[in-house]
């Protein structure tokens, strides 16, 4: 199954809470079901993305790490 990413955000070098805020802004522009990916380097973004996803109901479908870069994929919730 191929996954189409509707939007990709480069949040590397940004510190908390900027990654979450930029993500929240970008997620607003997505249609329900669309995917957003984000790359961040702030270690605090791992618990923050998880908590943001739970709090807002937009599922975090991927949270991984490669070297010093964290990769997240969020799915815009269905209305």
């Amino acid at each position: 199954m191929s996954i189409t990413i509707a939007k990709s955000l480069d949040l590397k070098g940004l510190s908390c809470p900027l990654p979450i805020i930029k993500t929240a802004k970008a997620m607003k522009e997505l249609a329900p079901g669309e995917l957003l990916e984000a790359f961040a380097t702030d270690p605090g973004s791992v618990p923050d993305f998880k908590a943001w996803a739970q709090s807002t109901g937009n599922p975090l479908v991927e949270s991984s790490q490669e070297g010093a870069v964290f990769h997240f994929v969020l799915k815009k919730k269905e209305i």
């Binding site: 979450i20 929240a24 607003k28 943001w52």
Partner: protein, 379 residues
């Protein structure tokens, strides 16, 4: 001939660097000029207290000349454009200053009009805003007071939490606390970016009846319906709304294309030197360094920038002494107590248990500031 060192901005960072460069340059090596739009030095951490009637606006302002050494020239004018190739600064009056070394210490400005519907909401990020907020609080007889954040980064990250505590004190002193609901909206799922400090203050917020709502990044305001909405899709009612406004760098930075899209100047996080242009440094709120925008950062950075500028003036190698990311903030927790937050690039934040002595330390620092910090007397 003396090297021309031009400093844009007479705030904390600009004033300390001006005094240190003038003091340390052996006679005649450098001539320092500070360009400031108002000629008045304002102690911005005091706005928080003006907003709750605990400080007089007049005690937060002094003539910039009274804080600068006699051998520093103050030009009261607005810098409108910098030409980093010709090494000149154009002023609003039409005058042009040539520089050998330039320090950008222009700080930040608040732009509440970037938030739809928020034109008339309250804030404590300018003197006028703080005075107007206190007027509104004096007339407040009950209802919902909402405190939120409408943009990141903003000056003094703990300020919204401190304001919530000081507001609680103010309403209790007036005997109307039970008629008011205080709601604090946070960009994250905790009171404050720093987790350790959040853990310390959240139980105190709960104890004082201050309601914390997480992941509420203010997006817009409906001043007629009196509601505030978030990027996350939530809407909340208010009777009195206090927002931390979005911040940007100054227009001169944006017009001169010396910064990023928000007007923050890209510098090396240790040397504070501009990443593109030679002979340009920046300190304080002005920079794009991902660290708190606060007077303490400008203060700690100032000696680094001053030494770097002096080394260039004297034709010496760059100094080994660089900025280590040090930040030190006080955080008022109300009822006469406070804590502190200290960290740097390599050490995570620590906060002691709130106590009276930190409140008194903050009050003492605020009073002695005028005689110690601008002159560069405190390391």
């Amino acid at each position: 001939m003396a090297a021309e060192v031009v400093i844009l901005g007479g705030g904390v960072g600009g004033t300390i660097v001006a005094n240190l460069v003038a003091k340390k340059s052996s006679s005649g090596k450098a001539h320092v000029t500070v360009v400031d739009a108002t000629g008045t030095h304002v102690y911005q951490p005091g706005f928080l207290y003006v907003a709750v009637g605990k400080e007089q606006p007049s005690s937060l302002q002094r003539d910039e000349t009274s804080l600068l050494r006699n051998d520093v020239t103050l030009v009261v004018d607005r810098a409108v454009r910098v030409d980093p190739v010709a090494r000149t600064v154009q002023l609003e009056s039409g005058r042009t200053l040539r520089y050998d070394q330039l320090l950008l210490a222009t700080g930040s400005r608040t732009v509440m009009d970037e938030v739809p519907g928020a034109k008339d909401v309250h804030d404590f990020y300018t003197m006028e805003g703080a005075i107007r907020l206190f007027e509104a609080l004096k007339g407040f007889e009950g209802g919902i007071i909402v405190i939120g954040v409408a943009g990141i980064p903003y000056k003094c990250p703990p300020a919204p939490v401190e304001f919530a505590f000081l507001l609680d004190d103010y309403l209790r002193a007036r005997g109307i606390r039970e008629k008011a609901q205080i709601k604090l909206l946070s960009p994250l799922n905790r009171a404050f970016t720093i987790e350790a400090t959040s853990k310390l203050v959240q139980p105190i917020l709960a104890e004082r009846g201050i309601e914390l709502t997480g992941f509420f990044n203010v997006e817009s305001v409906d001043p007629v319906a009196k509601t505030v909405s978030s990027l996350e899709g939530e809407t909340m009612d208010y009777d009195l709304l206090v927002l931390v406004p979005p911040h940007r760098g100054q227009k001169v930075i944006e017009l001169s294309v010396l910064g990023d899209e928000r007007g923050w100047v890209p510098v090396d996080k240790n040397t504070l030197k501009h990443t593109t242009f030679e002979h340009i440094w920046a300190v304080g709120d002005t920079t794009n360094i991902p660290i708190s925008k606060s007077g303490s950062v400008a203060h700690y950075e100032a000696s680094v920038a001053a030494d770097a500028i002096l080394a260039e003036v004297k034709g010496e190698a760059p100094p080994k002494h660089t900025y280590d990311g040090k930040v030190m903030c006080f955080l008022e927790t109300g009822q006469g107590e406070a804590t502190t937050i200290q960290f740097d690039y390599d050490h995570p934040p620590v906060s002691p248990t709130p106590a009276r002595r930190w409140h008194w330390a903050k009050a003492l620092f605020n009073k002695t500031y005028w005689h110690t910090v601008p002159q560069g007397r405190l390391p």
